[in-house]
Each structure stands twice: as structure tokens, then as C-alpha cells.
């Protein structure tokens, strides 16, 4: 009747542990998970409110457009989606995912695309391009002698901010840089630099400070995207500092390991190339509704009702993170497993199963 169960917070990319309080199969609150090494039972407001995700705006049945969207059974929904996908050429098929699916879902989706011969696939990377280097573990942030922060970590990712506070208590020197006149991270640093552009800020950095081999220096980059992000990475990559880029969603890093990272422009390009689109987790209608109008047939898999769902031809109701078993990889590259805690509502099912069943209906062997 009442259960307290461990899970990983889906609210940002830090990967905190949180306990869900489940009463009569419904999530009613969170409870501190003090054994968790990342956050030791401390959570930000978003993390403590994460249980509400399970109760809000949920999709409970497969839907099919017959004029309006109507409830149908799984067989009919999958059959329709499969026959539509089969009626297009591979190059006319597009698949996009979001940064908050599980690693297991990315793997299955990747297999699905490879088996089908679909090349137009990727995830919404929120304009953070793919990178490939060893990032700083969270413990290194805490043990640093010097930390340079671009962005407002204390406000946006408080449980990473906590590591900065602990480093400061341990004697580390903290320098923060950001666009606003004042930031929470700024007022808690030894020095705050208000910047006009990252490039001019980087040009003026005294590299000697960063290159001191006697000390552990960490650079945290958050709130940057596109070119700014890439330039900052390039600047620090060949120095001795440890780098920690902060990604946006709970499994953006996991997605990056398995699928192509697509910027908003690249997503728009993809949409121009394809005629049928299979969306898993993402909500493209919220940022490129115009581009979606070129799509002849739209299949959406999600656990909640969003703008894309409302435009879709077939809707496949998936599960929320706490309703399935899987793993997320946090922004520091650490993969953490989590277990299914509650059943999904109504006729919603596990997302890996949906992808597999869709493949089966298409006669594909994954």
C-alpha cells in the first residue's frame, strides 16, 4: 500500500538519486535517498517535484487520426504505423528521439533504424554538439583547487553547484563567468566576470592559471550551445584542466553515445528530407511546427500529451521513467540503472517493447 523506492531523478543531467513515495500504486511524493553517492539525499525543487511527472497529462491509450484523434487498440495502432512506414522508401523515413529516453531505448531505436536502412535519425541535442573526451567526474569538481564556471550552476544544477560549494569550503579558488550583471554562482565565487561574448572572454583568459600542473583545475561549461560551446571546448581541450560540460536532459549524454546529435537546424533539415516521421520522446511541434507541416504521416511515441501528439496520425503511449527498467548516463558520463516502480497508466506500455513490436509488425528482426 505504501512503498518508498529508489530511482534516478529525470529532471536534469546531474543524475541525482531520489526516492519515490508510492501509495496505492500512485506517486504521492519524494523522500531523501541519502545512500546515493551523487547527492546524498539532497535534491533541488525540480527533483523533489519529479514524482508529479507520473501524474500529469498522461497518455493512456493508443490513438489514431480519424478526423480527430480516436482511441484504438494496440494491434490496430501498430498495424497502421507499420504499414505506413513500409509504404515509404527508407530515405523518406525520419526518426527523432529526445534526450530523456533510456539508453536501452536508444539502442533499440538504433537497431530499428539500422535494420530498416534509415539514415535520417538522431536526437534533439538542444544545440550541444557531440564531443568525445574524458569529462571530469563529480568527485573531481569537489576536490579541485581551482574551478572556472561558465553559466549559473548553483541556480540551474544545484547538486552540481553543491560540489563547487564543497570545493570552496575545502579552499578552492572559484571564478565564475556569465552574461547577467549578477548570478547566484557569481556571488558565491571569489571572482565574477560579466562577459559580452565567450570568445572575447576566452581571449582574455590567463592560460597560466589553468595550466598550473601543481593543482587540480576544473572548468564547468553550462548554458552554452552551438558555436560558443564548441569554441569553449576547443579552447580548454588542449590544456591540462578537467572539463565538465553540463548537458540539458537526464540522458543527453547517453543519447550522444548512441545516436547522432542534431541541432535545431539539423532537425529542420532532416524534416525537409523525409515524408514520414517517427518521434520518440521529443516534442518537435514546440520548436519547429512549420517544418512538421511537410510531413505526410506522423507517428509519435510519448508518455504525455504534448503539441506533437496533438498533430500526430498515430500516437503510441509509452511509459514514464519510473514505470520502466533502464539506465541514464549523466553529464559526467556515469551510467546508472533504475528499476520499474509502478505500472504505467491505462494501456500505456514500456517503450522498448513498443519499438520492438513495431519492428515485428514490419517484419524486421531486431
Amino acid at each position: 500500500m505504501l512503498k518508498v523506492a529508489h530511482t534516478i531523478c529525470p529532471s536534469c543531467s546531474v543524475g541525482c538519486g531520489v526516492n519515490l513515495i508510492i501509495k496505492d500504486q500512485k506517486a504521492v511524493g519524494t523522500y531523501p535517498y541519502k545512500r546515493h553517492p551523487i547527492n546524498q539525499g539532497k535534491n533541488c525543487k525540480k527533483g523533489r517535484d519529479s514524482y508529479q511527472i507520473l501524474n500529469e497529462n498522461r497518455l493512456k491509450d493508443p490513438l489514431l487520426r480519424k478526423g480527430g484523434l480516436e482511441q484504438v487498440n494496440w494491434e490496430y495502432a501498430l498495424e497502421t504505423a507499420a504499414s505506413q512506414l513500409k509504404s515509404y522508401e527508407n530515405r523518406e523515413i525520419g526518426i527523432i528521439a529526445s534526450g530523456d529516453c533510456t539508453n536501452e531505448e536508444y539502442e533499440t531505436l538504433k537497431k530499428f533504424a539500422t535494420t530498416l536502412g534509415v539514415e535520417n535519425i538522431g536526437y534533439n541535442a538542444k544545440n550541444i554538439p557531440t564531443f568525445n573526451f574524458k569529462t571530469a567526474p563529480l568527485d573531481d569538481v569537489e576536490n579541485s583547487d581551482f574551478i572556472l564556471i561558465i553559466g549559473d550552476i548553483l541556480k540551474e544544477n544545484p547538486l552540481l553547484g553543491r560540489r563547487v560549494i564543497l570545493a570552496k569550503e575545502g579552499g578552492a579558488e572559484i571564478i565564475a563567468a556569465d552574461y547577467p550583471e549578477k548570478t547566484l554562482t557569481g556571488i558565491n565565487s571569489d571572482e565574477y566576470i560579466q562577459i559580452e561574448s565567450t570568445s572575447s572572454f576566452l581571449d582574455n583568459i590567463n592560460r597560466n592559471v589553468l595550466e598550473n600542473p601543481q593543482q587540480l583545475s576544473t572548468v564547468i561549461i553550462s548554458g552554452l550551445s552551438g558555436e560558443e560551446f564548441e569554441n569553449s571546448l576547443k579552447f580548454f581541450q588542449d590544456s591540462h584542466v578537467k572539463l565538465l560540460p553540463v548537458m540539458e536532459e537526464c540522458n543527453s549524454r547517453g543519447a550522444m553515445n548512441l545516436l547522432p546529435a542534431l541541432s535545431e537546424d539539423e532537425l529542420k533539415d532532416l524534416l525537409e528530407k523525409v515524408k514520414i516521421l517517427y518521434v520518440v520522446g521529443d516534442d518537435p511541434a514546440s520548436y519547429m511546427e512549420e517544418s512538421l507541416k511537410n510531413i505526410e504521416f506522423l507517428i509519435t511515441q510519448n508518455f504525455l500529451v504534448n503539441e506533437t501528439v496533438l498533430m500526430s496520425d498515430v500516437v503510441l503511449p509509452g511509459s514514464c521513467w519510473a514505470e520502466k527498467t533502464g539506465s541514464f548516463t549523466n553529464t559526467a558520463g556515469e551510467t546508472q540503472n533504475f528499476e520499474k516502480i509502478v505500472e504505467p497508466p491505462g494501456n500505456a506500455i514500456d517503450d522498448v517493447t513498443i519499438i520492438r513490436e513495431l519492428a515485428e509488425k514490419m517484419g524486421l528482426e531486431l
Partner: protein, 382 residues
Amino acid sequence: MEPQFLLAKAKDEELAKKGECGGAVSALFKYLLDQQLVDGVLTLTRGEDVYDGIPTLVENSEEIVETCGSLHCAPTMFGDLISKHLNDIRLAVSVKPCDAMAIKELEKRHQINPDAIYKIGLNCGGTVMPITARKMIEMFYDVDPAEVVAEEIDKGKFIIELADGTHKSVEIDELEEKGFGRRNNCQRCELKIPRNADLACGNWGAEPGWTFIEVVTEKGKTLVENARKNGYIDVKTPSEKAIAIREKIENVMIKLARKFQDKYLEEDYPAPENWDEYWNRCIKCYACRDVCPICFCKECDLEKDFYTDEDEIAPDPLTFQGVRLSHMCFSCVNCGQCEDVCPMEIPLARIFHRMQKKYRDDTGFIAGVSEELPPLYSPEKE
């Protein structure tokens, strides 16, 4: 009622073997469930290892055996878990003194029905944060924390047991001097024997294989008598010497707690400029308010328009923590949860405990222990 002392142990062999000190507490829970005197038992079960205590509601008496064993590295709080989520059932709960204090304040405020709850108190010398415990086992015991199969606190030592049956121990004093050991609020806590519960159970003064029980309330007395009559526990009277030993241990621990109060709340108390630094970190996430077991208003003043300024970078300490202090410090039971959950490592329990102590010195009101409500309490929010 006059307190009564007795020694008890489970008659059930498995409970006697797996439970702490003869499994008397587990046997009492089993009795309550079997006789349908309660609908559920709220207690801790072990999660992935000895550092992971998970609040668990047991509804089937056969599962009581899974809740056996001590978990000192689980600084949980049951008070608001009960008032928010378990107020609709008859409940038995195992309580540390701070749980019992929180429940007592919630009962006085009509948030928990005292008639629907059995409070089985567990003597407590303090708890250790799980990650702190793992670090200190690596550093002071030279042991991989994953290899620890059991832990206990006895005679001033934190003792670990490894899979091969060997034991290693380190003096708690030594651990705490180096910043490890029990949580700071536990070090300052004076309530080691929860006489605000129905029974206070523990190993102090007990013979091996027996639990020393102080019977505090009539409800507790009836429970123990009926559990004995129905064949769930064996009971005997402790010797005068056992009672004296228990009293001596308690007094030593209280004396030590007062020393820590002086240290944390006076000698090493943060200076005003340190507090300025702490308040600057505040992200106004309300974690301290939400975790406080005693703070329960449905409409919180802190969310009223005149206290919320979205653009403010670091909230004004007067209109955030100041308001919290003025509402809650009289009732602070020093459970330490606010400090445990603060993402910004603000030592909140220190300021609240210090204020409660001053209030207590002036009014005699001890939060979680006194029978009455704090003198300035307004019942308007209930």
C-alpha cells in the same frame, strides 16, 4: 505512570536469532499484526547494503523477519511520512528519539491520531550519514565499505563485521574529532532513551540475547503483557545492577551531548559574517521547509506575494529563513533533516537548535518532549 523496567526476548526462534538483542521488538510487531491490532508496521529494511535503510510498511507478519537488524547509517524521519501518508490506518512504528519527538509534536497539533499509533522506541546514540560512513570505513578501518555485512555501536565504538566474521572497531571519539562519525545534530542530542514513545527498547544494561525495555505508557504496558500472555515474548525482571548500568550509560551520553552543544552552538558557532556567506548560497528550493516534520501548514506564508521576489539573487535571509525561524524554532526537535537535505550545505539545524535551546531555557518548553504546545503556538493553521 511509574516507569517499569523489564528484559524481553522473542519466543520465535528465527526472530530471536535474526533480531537485535533477542528480537523482542520484532516479536511485538508480529503480535500486533497477527492480532490485527494494527494494519501495518512502519520500520526500516535494508536496501542494497548496510548503508541503505529504506522506510517500509509491513502488512504481513511473516515479513517482519526481513526488517531485523540494526541500521545506524540510515538517518530517516518517520514523523511526516506518517502524518502525510499513513494517517488513514492503524499503525505501529519503530522510532528513534527524534522520530518520537516529531510524532509527539504532530500529535499535539492534531496531524497524527495518538489513538491509532503504537510507538516502539529504540534507544539511539546517533546515526551516521551513509556516504560519510563509507568514507570513514575506507579511511579508518582500511576496509572496502562494500565488504561490511553488519555494523553496530557499542561501548563508544563503531564496530563493523565483515563477511568472514571478523570484526573491526574504532572509537567514535576519534572518528568525530576528524569530522566523521555521527551527524552533528546527533552528537548534540540529549534524548537517548525515547521516553516519549510507548516503550523504550535497547541493549544498554541488557544481558546478551535480551532487550532492555522501559515501559513508559499504559498502552505500552498492555502491549507487553498481552504479547507475553499470547506467547510472543519471554519476559523477566532486570537486576538492580543492570538498571544502574543503563542509567550510567545514558548519563555519560547526555553529558557528552551537552559538551557537543557547547562546542557547536557556542564555541564554534558560525560568526555573523559566516552566516552571511551561508545565506548567500540559498537557492530558495524550500527543501528545509518541506522536509521539516513539524512544519505542516497547507498555505505557507513563504509563498505569499510579499515574500516572493523571483528576481532576487539569494533570498533576503530575513524574509526567508527569518520567517522560518520565527515559525519553527520553538518547535525544533533537532532531527537534523533540514541540514541533511540542504543542497547548499547550510548548517541549518545549528541555528534552529540554538534558538530552541534558548527558548527552552526561558520557558521550560522542550520540543518533542513537553506535554503542552509551545507558549506562542497559534492553532489557527490546523
